[in-house]
C-alpha cells in the first residue's frame, strides 16, 4: 500500500481535457496496441486529479477530499486509495 507520506505526481505522458466537472484522459503511446485507451474521471476523481501536483502527499489529498465532500476520513482514504490503484499507470509515486 502506498505510504500516506508519499508525494503524487501525474505521469506527463497523458493528455487531459476538463469537460464540466469531469476529465477525459488520453495516454500517450508509441504503439498502436494501446490506442483508444481513453478514461473518464468523475467529479471526485477530477477533484483528486487536480490536487495531484508533485507537492502534496497522499494524506494531504485525503484531508482535502474529507473537507470538500464533508465525509469521514475512512471514506476519503478508501476513495483516494482506490483512485491511486485505478490510475497507478498514470501516476508517479515518490
Amino acid at each position: 500500500m502506498t505510504d500516506p507520506k508519499s508525494i503524487l505526481s501525474r505521469n506527463p505522458k497523458m493528455v487531459t481535457k476538463k469537460t464540466g466537472n469531469e476529465y477525459v484522459l488520453v495516454p500517450v503511446t508509441d504503439n498502436i496496441a494501446d490506442m483508444n485507451s481513453v478514461y473518464t474521471l468523475n467529479e471526485t476523481g477530477a477533484f483528486i486529479w487536480e490536487l495531484i501536483d508533485g507537492k502534496k502527499s497522499v494524506e494531504e489529498i485525503i484531508n482535502s477530499v474529507t473537507k470538500e465532500y464533508d465525509i469521514d476520513i475512512e471514506t476519503a482514504t478508501s476513495d483516494v486509495y482506490s483512485f491511486i490503484r485505478d490510475m497507478s499507470k498514470y501516476l508517479i509515486i515518490k
Partner: protein, 295 residues
C-alpha cells in the same frame, strides 16, 4: 500521368511526379475523385528511390500489420509502418502488403507545411502513389492538420438527417448500415468516416480507402455509440462520458501530445454540438422505427 488532383472528404490532394519518378496512375477506386483544379490542400511530390534519414531522427510510432478475419484481429507482422520525427519534420516508412514487387515508400511531411514528398522504390515504371496504407496515412494526417476527426463508424442519411453509428469491430456498424439502406436511407459508409466542421456545421464524408465508392457526404445530426443488446434502448450521454465514448472509436496515433490535444478538443466541441447517445439494439428492421420514433 505526371500530375493530378484527388478530392477526398473535401480535401484536394495533388500529386506531382518529379523528373525521375515512375509514371503515376491512380487505382480505379480513385477515378471518381479526380478533379481539375489548381487549388490543393496538400501537394505530394513523388520521387523514385528513398531518402537517408538523419541518425538523430527518433522513431515515435510503430504499427504492426493486422488483418481482420471474421471479426478477429490477427497480427501478421510486428512491423508494417513507422513514424520518425526529426525537429518539425515527420517521416513515415512503409511497405505495401498488396504489392508483389517489394514496393516501399518514405513520406516526408510536416503538420505545418502544405507540400510533402513521397519516395517510392520497387515500383516498376508505373505506380499508384496512393496505394494502401499511404492513402489512409495521408488522410489521417490531413484530419490532424485540419482538426477534423477520422472515426470507426457507419453513417447514413435518411430524409435529410445524418446519423452516425460508431463502435469497434463486431458491434454492428455494417448491420445497421444495411438495415438503413433497406429502409431507403443513403449509406455514406459502413465502416469509416471523416467528420469535418465546415462553417459551423458538422458533415460526414466517406473515403475510397477501402472500396470503390463514389464520393458521399451528409450533414451529421446525431451520434450513436452502438452495442448489441437484448432489447432496443437509447441512453443519452453528454460531457466527459460522451467525449470518452467517441474518442475511444476515433482513429488515433497517440505518440504526440500535440496531436492528441487538438483531437480531444475537436471531439469535445463536436459532442457539445451534436447529440450523442448510447444505442443498444437488436439487429432487426424494428430498430429503424425505434430510432425514428425516438427522434
Amino acid at each position: 500521368m505526371k500530375d493530378y488532383t484527388l478530392k477526398i472528404a473535401g480535401y484536394n490532394i495533388r500529386f506531382e511526379a518529379s523528373e525521375e519518378s515512375p509514371e503515376l496512375i491512380p487505382s480505379e477506386r480513385f477515378l471518381r475523385n479526380i478533379i481539375q483544379t489548381p487549388d490543393y490542400d496538400i501537394l505530394i511530390r513523388v520521387h523514385h528511390g528513398t531518402l537517408k534519414l538523419s541518425e538523430e531522427a527518433d522513431r515515435v510510432f510503430i504499427a504492426p500489420y493486422i488483418i481482420e478475419v471474421k471479426g478477429m484481429k490477427i497480427k501478421q507482422r510486428d512491423h508494417f509502418w513507422s513514424v520518425y520525427k526529426h525537429h518539425s519534420d515527420l517521416y513515415i516508412f512503409t511497405n505495401f502488403p498488396d504489392s508483389s514487387h517489394g514496393k516501399k515508400a518514405l513520406l516526408k511531411f510536416s503538420l505545418t507545411l502544405r507540400e510533402w514528398d513521397l519516395w517510392l522504390e520497387g515500383t516498376g515504371e508505373i505506380t499508384d502513389p496512393f496505394e494502401y496504407p499511404v492513402d489512409s496515412l495521408v488522410l489521417y494526417y490531413l484530419t490532424v492538420i485540419h482538426s477534423d476527426i477520422m472515426i470507426h463508424a457507419s453513417g447514413v442519411n435518411y430524409a435529410g438527417n445524418g446519423y452516425l453509428f460508431s463502435g469497434a469491430s463486431g458491434k454492428g456498424k455494417t448491420t445497421l448500415a444495411e438495415l438503413w439502406e433497406d429502409s431507403g436511407a443513403k449509406v455514406i459508409h459502413d465502416d469509416r468516416l471523416i467528420l469535418r466542421n465546415i462553417n459551423g456545421t458538422y458533415r460526414m464524408f466517406n473515403t475510397p480507402v477501402y472500396r470503390d465508392d463514389e464520393p458521399r457526404e451528409s450533414p451529421l445530426n446525431k451520434i450513436f455509440i452502438i452495442e448489441h443488446g437484448t432489447e432496443n434502448k437509447i441512453i443519452p450521454v453528454k460531457g466527459a462520458t460522451a467525449v470518452t465514448l467517441v474518442m475511444a472509436n476515433c482513429i488515433q496515433q497517440n505518440w504526440d501530445p500535440e496531436v492528441i490535444a487538438p483531437l480531444l478538443g475537436s471531439v469535445s466541441t463536436m459532442c457539445s454540438m451534436i447529440p450523442t447517445v448510447k444505442l443498444f439494439f437488436r439487429p432487426e428492421r424494428r430498430i429503424i422505427d425505434y430510432i425514428l420514433e425516438y427522434e
